[in-house]
């Protein structure tokens, strides 16, 4: 995990610097209170810890001669994770224009396929049943106004 820690150290350090610059644009002390104080404590602590993490990662990667197993998913697994995340993002985008009734069974069906279900009839029945059950729960019981379908 040495190399990935260096990456995290770098990314978090850069994020801290970005927030540090933004903090400096905050108004200066007013009536004994400085709105910069607390954020600066947090940002400088995060920056310091990022540097420590980066150094720890560097030392670990120098010490460990044997290549460690990959810390990020690859191949088919990475593809599945990307599809699931994209399906969730797509659901977010189409839920309002298309409506709950049409969007939700598609999301559940895609997720079922990714989780290894291969029987089409089972996928169709379960995705429709689960969507209906969730609709009843949120719309019927909790009165959450789920986005309506373009069908009506």
């Amino acid at each position: 995990m040495g190399r990935i820690d260096i990456v995290y150290g770098f990314v978090l350090g850069a994020l801290s610097l970005l927030f540090f610059v933004e903090t400096l644009s905050a108004p200066a002390s007013r009536g004994g209170i400085n709105p910069r104080t607390f954020p600066l404590i947090v940002i400088l602590s995060l920056f310091g810890l990022s540097v420590v993490l980066g150094i720890q990662g560097l030392l670990r990667s120098l010490r460990d001669r044997n290549p460690l197993p990959p810390t990020l998913p690859r191949g088919k697994t990475a593809g599945k994770l990307a599809v699931l995340t994209a399906a969730g993002a797509g659901y977010t985008l189409i839920l309002e224009p298309v409506g709950y009734i049409l969007a939700t069974p598609v999301l559940i069906a895609v997720a079922m396929i990714l989780f290894g279900e291969r029987r089409p009839i089972r996928i169709a029945i379960l995705s429709l049943t689960a969507s209906a059950a969730l609709y009843f729960l949120f719309r019927g019981v909790f009165r959450v106004p789920l986005p309506r379908s373009i069908l009506w």
Partner: protein
């Protein structure tokens, strides 16, 4: 005491909420990969639509139920449903392999109930005393308390103290986005209007805890690491013989007390308590060599201890607003969402909520006993739940849950982004619980620091004038020191 009686009336009149919490807890506890914290997140959309007391007893029922539920999969498939049930595997699974899973489940149920009862009594009698002391706290003491709370984040971190602290400070950084609470100025919005209100707790909680888990489970499944382990269907006789039960109550009582004490100490939790109780039970046993081969005391000790931690962990949560472990950290977030601010004022301003919680917590133990004994026959079926249906449902429930708070697709998008962040955090040893702790405690620490400085006209020494505040700073240092010592030992062990 009359208040507590009213609490019991409330708990019995809202028994269905408690039952949903307990059954939901047992279910998430049984299924490996889900935990009490995930259960609370999944229940959040529903908690928002019930009154605070009912939501609180539902959550406490779920907390206790999940702690018990972990033992079922530990015994039947040698996979602890929750980390707290890891010690239960040592004797539970060998007993199940001998065809006596029913007996193991019976002992786990009785021990869990007893542990929960002892911890409930501790909660009822200890929490009000602690709250009375906490009422005397001023801003300086509260700031010190928050610092202590924030150092816990280092301890609850899974892999390293550095990553634990980074996760916590990242959480505080997120909490700074929006409007500055003291002067009302805009900060860290980078020109994005949506960020003026900051990051809502709900999508962040759903993302880092539940959606990240869906991604992790998909990865495990795809890599073939989530293959179903053939579980035992043979339960055998359920109630142990009189000879087998002999001496078991001593183990249960001792472990329950031990678990309760450990639960009160922040950043410890059920896993530590159960292994400590297991070791103690083995040390005091007349036949220590039988531990690991299916000794009933080896099941009773960890189960009594891990359920004992539940009431103990609730003590700092409701009296000081400081969570002691991951589940109570999530519970703290959920409480804030439903409009309940834990802390000493909860006892003086809304004593009925506290009494309802106390009574509900105790009644939950009886429900665990009832549902636990009833579920022994059907528990092997729960483990047959198809993952291809379960996780898509959880995914959908999460997205709709994020939507339900403000009927906003922005929150759904936020939950997905934090799902990806939570996935990376868990995968690379960062602590999702620390992030949530930072997000919750950060604004309180900032508010109390500002109040202390305003009252003292900008004198920073006010923060170390009070002995109570100094005491909390010492505890904070001890907490970090303890974690450092622990990580040092772990590092040496890894090298060896």
């Amino acid at each position: 005491m009359p208040g507590l009686l009213e609490g019991f009336v409330y708990a019995f009149s809202h028994l269905h909420f408690l039952a949903i919490g307990v059954v939901g807890g047992i279910l998430v506890g049984v299924i490996p990969g889900l935990s009490g914290s995930t259960g609370i997140i999944l229940m959040l959309p529903f908690l928002l639509y019930v009154e605070p007391s009912a939501a609180l007893i539902m959550m406490s029922g779920l907390f206790c139920g999940s702690m018990y539920g972990g033992s079922i999969s530990a015994i039947l498939i040698s996979t602890p449903g929750t980390p707290s049930a890891a010690a239960t595997v040592l004797d539970g699974y060998p007993l199940a392999k001998k065809g006596q899973a029913g007996k193991a489940l019976w002992v786990a149920t009785i021990a869990s109930t007893a542990g929960g009862m002892v911890s409930a009594l501790c909660l009822i009698f200890l929490a009000p005393q602690l709250a009375r002391i906490a009422l005397k706290f001023g801003p300086a003491e509260y700031f010190a308390l928050m610092i202590f709370g924030l150092t816990i984040m280092a301890s609850v971190s899974a892999s390293s103290i550095t990553k634990g602290l980074i996760s916590g400070f990242f959480g505080i950084l997120l909490s700074l986005v929006g409007i500055d609470p003291t002067l009302g100025t805009e900060r860290f919005t980078f020109g994005v209007v949506r960020l003026l209100t900051g990051f809502s707790m709900m999508p962040v909680l759903i993302g880092v805890f539940a959606l990240s888990e869906v991604l992790l489970q998909l990865e495990l499944l795809s890599d073939g690491k989530l293959a179903r382990i053939p579980h035992t269907d043979t339960l055998g006789s359920i109630v142990p013989t009189k000879k087998e039960r002999k001496g078991l109550w001593k183990v249960i009582l001792g472990s329950s007390i031990l678990g309760t004490i450990i639960g009160i100490i922040p950043a410890t939790g059920g896993a530590i308590a159960s292994f400590m109780a297991y070791n103690e039970a083995r040390r005091f046993s007349k036949e220590p060599e039988t531990f690991g081969t299916g000794n009933l005391a080896g099941i009773a000790a960890p189960e009594a201890a891990n359920n004992g931690t539940t009431g103990g962990a609730m003590v700092p949560l409701i009296t000081l607003g400081i969570p002691g472990d991951v589940v109570t950290a999530v519970m703290l977030g959920a409480l804030l969402l439903i409009g309940v601010q834990p802390g000493p004022l909860l006892f003086s301003q809304t004593p009925h909520i506290v009494n309802n919680l106390f009574a509900g917590f105790l009644v939950a133990q009886f429900l665990i006993l009832g549902f636990g004994l009833l579920s022994i026959r059907v528990s092997p079926l729960i483990l047959k739940a198809p993952l291809a249906v379960l996780f898509p449902l959880i995914l959908c429930l999460c997205l709709l849950g994020a939507f339900s708070l403000g009927n906003s697709m922005y929150d759904v998008g936020l939950a997905i982004i934090f799902g990806a962040i939570g996935y990376l955090m868990k995968k690379h040893g960062f602590s999702a619980a620390s992030l949530i702790l930072g997000l919750i405690l950060g604004p309180i620490a900032e508010r109390e620091l500002s109040r202390a400085l305003i009252l003292s006209h900008g004198n920073w020494l006010t923060l170390v004038k009070s002995p109570i505040a100094v005491g909390f700073y010492v505890l904070a240092l001890a907490s970090v020191g303890y974690s450092l010592a622990g990580s040092g030992k772990a590092g040496k062990a890894n090298k060896a």
